[in-house]
């Protein structure tokens, strides 16, 4: 109670202090925040606006309002890169199946680390954590040769299968399991004669779905945005992913500004739509993971 009173009192003092210099510092603060928000937003706005203009308009003047050349620009993309939508198809296949694989294998491992006591557990867990520190560039040559030996060059499996080892997900979901799944729940399932894997699949998995879903958003986005590994592995045009297509379109017809902006917009708009609907969920998931870390 006494604490409460102190808190209220200090809060009031703080707000009184703030009230005094509202006019200058507050306005200054808001102006700064808004300018920064504009710096973040204007490139996207210019991208969307320029996507609807002809190459001539983009080259000759500043465009602030949309025009009617979107379809024409799109036709240029289709004419020069008829396989453009293959990129989306490949990216969707890789990101969806990779995310599912990483979610299931990752939560299996997370459960194993959270709820069982076995020899070498700590060392094995540190080994998993260590892989989080390795950027993909380090092992890329060995990875390329491995895929070559497995005849998986230009095969989406080369990008899907490695996602089974997603250390971030193991770390995050393990923490969630330790908090959300009580040992007595598992023990009572055992009493009823339920096998260990059945316990996981039927009881644990449904309970930990929220944490898996949160992590899977990041798995999906990371996979979708990945450029380096697909650039090395996907060597046939019909197997390119969206970032490689974007790179190619940017390089192929540089004077076709309108078409390039349209292709950039096509690659970014899906992420914008997802973010508009799920931003609170995404940011919330990130902070929950960060606090645990």
């Amino acid at each position: 109670m006494a604490n409460e009173a102190v808190k209220i009192k200090t809060n009031r003092q703080v707000s009184l202090n703030r009230g005094k210099n509202f006019s200058s510092s507050r306005i200054f603060l808001y102006v700064g925040l808004i300018v920064l928000a504009l710096i973040c937003f204007i490139p996207f706005y210019m991208m969307l606006i320029n996507a609807t203009h002809s190459s001539y308009d983009i080259g000759a003047k500043i465009n602030l309002l949309p025009s009617d050349q979107l379809i024409a620009n799109y036709k240029v993309i289709m004419k020069n890169t008829p396989r453009y939508w293959y990129g989306f198809q490949n990216s969707v296949i890789i990101s969806v199946f990779g995310t599912l694989l990483s979610a299931y294998f990752g939560s299996l491992a997370a459960y194993g680390f959270a709820k069982y006591k076995f020899r070498g557990k700590n060392i094995l867990f540190w080994a998993v954590m260590a892989t989080m520190m390795i950027p993909p560039q380090l092992g890329i040559i060995g990875f390329y040769q491995l895929m070559n030996a497995m005849h998986l060059i230009s095969n989406p499996l080369a990008l899907i299968l490695p996602m089974a080892a997603n250390a971030n997900l193991v770390f995050f979901v393990r923490g969630y399991i330790e908090g959300a799944i009580s040992n007595s729940l598992i023990e009572s399932a055992r009493m009823d004669g339920c096998g260990e894997f059945k316990i996981f699949n039927r009881i644990v998995l449904p309970l930990i779905t929220p944490s898996i879903a949160t992590m899977s958003i990041f798995t999906f986005i990371t996979s979708w945005n990945n450029f380096f590994t697909p650039l090395v592995i996907m060597q046939r045009e019909d197997r390119y992913t969206v970032p490689i297509m974007t790179y190619m379109v940017n390089g192929f017809y540089r004077d076709q500004f309108g078409a390039v902006y349209t292709s950039l917009a096509i690659s970014v708009v899906p992420i914008m739509i997802v973010f508009i609907f799920a931003s609170k969920y995404i940011i919330g998931g990130l902070t929950a993971g960060a606090v645990k870390g």
Partner: protein, 303 residues
């Protein structure tokens, strides 16, 4: 304690079954390629069917004399430093400002600042490449219409060493400061309110509270942010590759370590030499991470 967290020992062996599939994938797709890459760094190989020839440390002897390698390290470091410094400063200031309960619209600010971190870096780099294009680029058009430059004196941003590096750094800052901000906000939320109340009682102003409560309490978060930015930052590829159309132009001034690795390995077919560049990158990353740990984890004396 252990008993509360973990189930009876006789079930312990099932743990191996649960982690088994994960470890198969990890050993095959992460550990093996890494070890194999290290092995290749001691060989000469063009990637053909003829087996790699073991040549000892010749690749590394060559590497330490290769000015392209040292230049790529320097380029990477410059681009990284001028991106990460403003990134951390903006992130920490914004995290403090946006944790203010009275601020209006902070949900929107937070979302707008964070959004670039989710967008494909390649698309953003492609966008900036177009916006800053020499002839017909939107930025140059703007400068011309404002009377700052003319059609003849328009800046060729990607023909200039300074501007190419500057735009790489700017873009990396632009992409990541919101992400670091979110991590700092989580760190600040975890600081006990009592510390600030004690500060109020002692009559500490906002700067004193920031300097003696917020910053020291955030040390693990700062370390986390710095270490992830070192690991990601020294391996940067997407942004400089896209802004220079894969060439590192002008004059290889924006060729990063990863780009040099890529061009040596997959374009010049020097698999062994490319692998030694990868080992160099690995050593460099480790050194930087150790420095960060030493520097940030040292005891901060309160005077």
């Amino acid at each position: 304690m252990l008993k509360r967290l973990q189930i009876d020992d006789k079930y312990g062996r099932y743990g191996y079954f649960f982690i088994f599939p994960f470890f198969v994938a990890m050993l095959l797709f992460t550990a093996y390629p890494l070890v194999y890459s290290i092995y290749l760094s001691f060989t000469k190989w063009d990637g053909s069917t003829i087996a790699p020839a073991f040549i000892g440390i010749d690749n590394f002897k060559h590497l330490v004399k290769d000015h392209f390698f040292w230049d790529s390290i320097l380029n990477t470091f410059k681009i990284w430093l001028f991106a990460v410094t403003p990134q951390m400063i903006f992130a920490i200031i914004l995290a403090v400002v946006l944790n203010d309960k009275k601020l209006k619209g902070k949900g929107i600010f937070r979302a707008v600042y964070f959004f670039p971190a989710l967008v494909t870096a390649v698309s953003i780099a492609g966008l900036f490449f177009q916006l800053f294009a020499w002839q017909g680029g939107t930025v140059n058009n703007l400068l011309i219409s404002l009377g700052i430059s003319t059609t003849d004196s328009a800046t060729n941003f990607f023909g200039s060493i300074f501007w190419t590096r500057f735009l790489c750094s700017f873009l990396l800052w632009w992409l990541w400061f919101g992400y670091s901000m979110i991590i700092f906000m989580a760190g600040i939320k975890a600081i006990p309110e009592e510390l600030y109340e004690a500060g109020d009682v002692d009559g500490a102003g906002w700067w004193k509270k920031f300097r003696y409560i917020t910053l020291p309490s955030l040390r693990p978060t700062i370390l986390y942010n710095i270490v992830t930015s070192i690991i990601g930052g020294l391996a940067i590829f997407d942004v400089p590759y896209m802004l220079t159309s894969g060439t590192g132009a002008p004059d290889y001034s924006a060729q990063t370590i990863s780009m040099y690795l890529y061009s040596q390995t997959f374009q010049a077919n020097n698999y062994g030499y490319g692998a030694s560049i990868g080992v160099g990158l690995c050593i460099l990353t480790t050194i930087f991470v150790i420095i960060a740990f030493k520097f940030i984890n040292r005891d901060v004396s309160i005077d």
